[in-house]
């Protein structure tokens, strides 16, 4: 009699344990679904800036070789956006974040010299800018963060004193001439964009590897920015989207040092 009761109690005990185990697994499933839902909601909740509209390409096209214009038109370049893109540029300088890439060239380092071609075939050297502060952007035509930066950099470029400061951009993804020209044509950029080819050409639909100059600037994240002083030394480095106010502040600091 006692043995049967103990057996019944043991079974009830086991059954209770089994129910609790099921409850814990069900709760875990609920937690997993809640996590996925939270990530989904956060992803969708994060706003992004609207995609900038296309600039009038007439003046740029007038100065570019017709075959380059035709190749760029054929690409039908269009920027795209993602959640979280384009939200940094209008923030105050204090909103700038620490660089994600710990190996960026440190302030005080001599900026690696370069001499690269524009999509139109002109040669531009860093040495040409000696005596001016330079904001160097390492970008990629396919990078939504770089696309979001582009109109802000153009406005900043308009506001700079050309005797004291300038903006240069280098395609750090081995972008071909047509893609880089299409990018600058779309955004109506007036500062030079330079090609930095590696063995494998990239395009705005196919990222390529970093070219030799981009590697010498330790490119790790698009976009990467350097402010180079009039003496050719690195004054500031950052990566990811930046408040335009921060870029202006660093440029002015370098130009007026």
């Amino acid at each position: 009699m006692g043995k049967a009761r103990r057996e019944r109690e043991r079974r009830e005990h086991e059954e209770a344990r089994r129910r609790r185990a099921i409850a814990i697994w069900v709760a875990t499933g609920v937690v997993a679904v809640a996590l996925a839902a939270t990530a989904g909601i956060l992803s969708n909740r994060t706003d992004s800036a609207p995609v900038p509209s296309a600039a009038d390409p007439t003046s740029a096209d007038a100065q570019a070789p017709p075959e380059l214009v035709a190749a760029a038109k054929a690409l039908d370049f269009r920027p795209h956006t993602e959640p979280g893109v384009g939200l940094m540029e209008d923030k105050p300088a204090s909103a700038a974040r620490a660089a994600a890439n710990p190996d960026l060239l440190a302030p005080g380092t001599q900026a690696p010299p370069f001499s690269l071609r524009t999509p139109e075939g002109d040669t531009v050297s860093l040495a040409d800018y000696r005596g001016k502060a330079v904001l160097l952007e390492l970008f990629a035509t396919w990078c939504p963060h770089c696309q979001a930066e582009a109109p802000h950099l153009e406005r900043l470029s308009d506001q700079l004193d050309p005797a004291k400061a300038a903006i240069l951009a280098i395609d750090g993804s081995s972008g071909d001439a047509a893609s880089v020209y299409a990018f600058h044509r779309y955004f109506g950029l007036t500062y030079p964009a330079l090609l930095d080819p590696s063995g494998t050409p990239g395009s705005f639909t196919q990222p390529g590897p970093a070219g030799p100059v981009s590697r010498s600037y330790r490119l790790g994240v698009f976009p990467t920015f350097y402010v180079i002083g009039p003496d050719g030394t690195v004054r500031w480095a950052g990566d990811g989207e930046q408040p335009t106010a921060k870029l202006r502040q660093e440029l002015e600091r370098a130009a007026n040092a």
Binding site: L35, T38, R97, P102, P207, R218, G220
Partner: protein
């Protein structure tokens, strides 16, 4: 497990270390989701559409994993997830290292900036050890598993052999 290592408090310490690793990593990333998403983008392994959702999901999942290990709920499954996650992180860093990518590890968000490479791979392999130990010998002293499910603690003297244990 050697008898001299059978000490429930040692097992609890291993479990708390594993929990602490995940809680620290998850909270550090969650302090600046956007920075972590930028770091994730640098690995160049996820389609761009997945970078943002994974950038939110991973830190939250790490925090939950840490809580499960802390309270000792589903210790063995949590330890297996811990080991798989660490192996994934090591693989991601190894491919970045092999490709010569100069990126931040992102292992602890923006709190510990370190270039992904041999050092961070070795560190993560070390951090994976408590999870591997718990997957083999689930430490259930002072745990939900022990209190509510009656599961035995592998670190206690006289614990049931691995073949007698269940997946929880």
């Amino acid at each position: 497990m050697p008898d001299r290592l059978r000490n429930p408090w040692l097992g609890l310490a291993v479990r708390l270390i594993a929990a602490g690793i995940w809680l620290a990593a998850g909270v550090a990333k969650a302090l600046d989701f956007t920075a972590f998403q930028t770091q994730l983008q640098g690995y160049d392994v996820l389609p761009s559409a997945l970078v943002t959702p994974v950038g939110y999901l991973l830190p939250l999942a790490e925090i939950v994993l840490g809580i499960y290990l802390l309270v000792g709920a589903l210790v063995r499954p949590a330890a297996i997830v811990s080991t798989v996650l660490m192996a994934t992180f090591v693989a991601a860093q190894a491919q970045a290292w092999a490709r010569g990518l100069v990126i931040d590890c992102g292992c602890f968000g923006n709190l510990d900036l370190q270039r992904a490479g041999g050092d961070t791979i070795l560190r993560d392999l070390g951090l994976a050890v408590p999870g591997v130990v718990l997957a083999i010998w689930p430490a259930r002293h002072l745990s939900v598993d022990q209190s509510f499910l009656g599961r035995s603690d592998a670190f206690s003297p006289g614990a049931a052999p691995p073949s007698a244990r269940t997946l929880a």
